[in-house]
Symmetry: C2
Subunit: 276 residues, 2 copies
């Protein structure tokens, strides 16, 4: 099912600025038994993105109603919620009155094997570098050519690729955020010049505060990442994937990775209880 | 008139990767009396963009035929030719077989007054900075949020805004390239870390070679730009716009600006003769 501005359709006007300039934002939300997971966090990030791009955030009741319409009968799936600046304006100039396009589309839940979460994945370092752009870092906008080009570097031999930015700092995976555990401290890269602040990254940093896990948000070099005791990547749909091999080195899903996975599982159950 | 993959339509499947990731390229081509202007140069840049993004360049005969269909009865207009990676793939991962979407749409010629070309325009420096990304610099891809945000900084008080990149080098206008004349030498910014290599920028550099105008492609600071004797911006649709004021300073369209404008006018006439 696809809803565009509340109407069931599967095509969009070619005048939409999302198409012309990637002038929009998106969220990819897991749906379980009709319930969107981490919805509060997804909507909060979308709202932040709207502030950065000066796209009017829709009335939340309307958005919630449309999310409900699309998700209510879904057992397990993924909802892509996109918000573009709509049509109009002249070239890059935006229209005087912005009428954002709301696009909601349902996808089947990706069929990743469960052992990616338990035993871990094989990862690589991408050759493609993330550019530097503090104005756009953090938010989940539709200008995603860097990720598309990085993801084209491998096929099925890896499950994720880590990306460095132009400053040679490891920032994130193509579709995930990165965490490194070293000597009992949890590290995750700074998202200031490049990268997306993932919903799960934020939640894990909150777990770290709640459960008093020492953590640092730093610039991380490739050498530092490889020297970690445990490595894992996260996103709100796949959850936590430990990295079991990268650049010829092997890792085990260790104590902190398992502990945080357990906090996440408990959080998802408690969140479900609240929304029921 | 709009053609999508050869069919007259005005909507596009919402699965198109152009919409989701700005995963595409475009050219904006002036049409005079049914003839596309600078077509060879536009198609050459599109082809370069396809090589960078690994999007298959369509059969040129097909593209030329579609351009002819859309343009043949147009007295004066602008053709937007867009090429996206089409639909398919999973997330950022591209499909095994890429079927690019060809989108051709006609627009009225923008009604800029002729005195912008003769007397010049008022310009400003934008606050928004271009990011650094050598992988994507030069080509005209659809990830254009930087330009959208920069263009939102003013309304009608200026006709163009110059953008600096994160390194504080002046790179280009939001929709134009920049030239500075100083002591008889023509300068234009390096397009290596940021910016688009405009069709007219390339042509003017060729004029400089042909007519033995001394020129340099350099990193230019704001101070250097302001110290110029003549400033002008270019794009293939508007031609050459001298800058008559920027940051409280005034400039006159000088000898070299007028000379190059004349070379351009002659080139357009000769190109028209060839295509007739």
């Amino acid at each position: 099912m696809i809803l565009i501005n509340g109407e069931q359709r599967d095509t969009l006007e070619i005048t939409d600025r999302g198409l012309h300039y990637g002038d929009g934002l998106f969220e990819t939300i897991e749906i379980i038994q009709g319930q969107p997971v981490f919805l509060t966090q997804h909507l909060a990030r979308l709202k932040t993105g709207c502030q950065v791009l000066h796209i009017p955030y829709p009335k939340e009741a309307l958005l919630l109603d449309e999310i409900h319409q699309v998700s209510q009968f879904v057992i397990h799936g993924v909802l892509k919620l996109m918000l573009t600046r709509g049509s109009g304006g002249r070239g890059y100039r935006q229209p005087e009155i912005i009428q954002a396009t709301r696009l909601l589309a349902l996808y089947p839940f990706p069929d990743y094997p469960a052992h990616y979460n338990s035993a871990g994945i094989n990862a690589c370092f991408c050759t493609s570098r993330l550019g530097l752009n503090p104005m756009l870092a953090g938010i989940k906008h539709n200008n995603r050519l860097e990720q598309v080009l990085a993801r084209a570097e491998w096929r099925d031999e890896f499950q994720e690729g880590l990306m460095l930015n132009l400053n040679e700092h490891v920032i994130e995976g193509t579709m995930t955020n990165l965490f490194v555990v070293k000597n009992g401290v949890l590290y995750t890269p700074k998202i200031i010049l490049s990268g997306i602040k993932g919903v799960l990254r934020q939640l894990i940093l909150e777990f770290a505060k709640t459960y008093e896990i020492p953590f640092k948000i730093n610039d991380l070099t490739k050498e530092f990442v490889l020297s970690g005791d445990e490595l894992f990547v996260t996103n709100s749909v796949i959850g936590i994937w430990p990295i079991k091999s990268i650049a010829g080195q092997s890792y085990m899903p260790g104590f902190l990775t398992q502990k945080i996975s357990q906090y996440l599982a408990e959080y998802k159950i408690s969140e479900k209880d609240i929304s029921c």
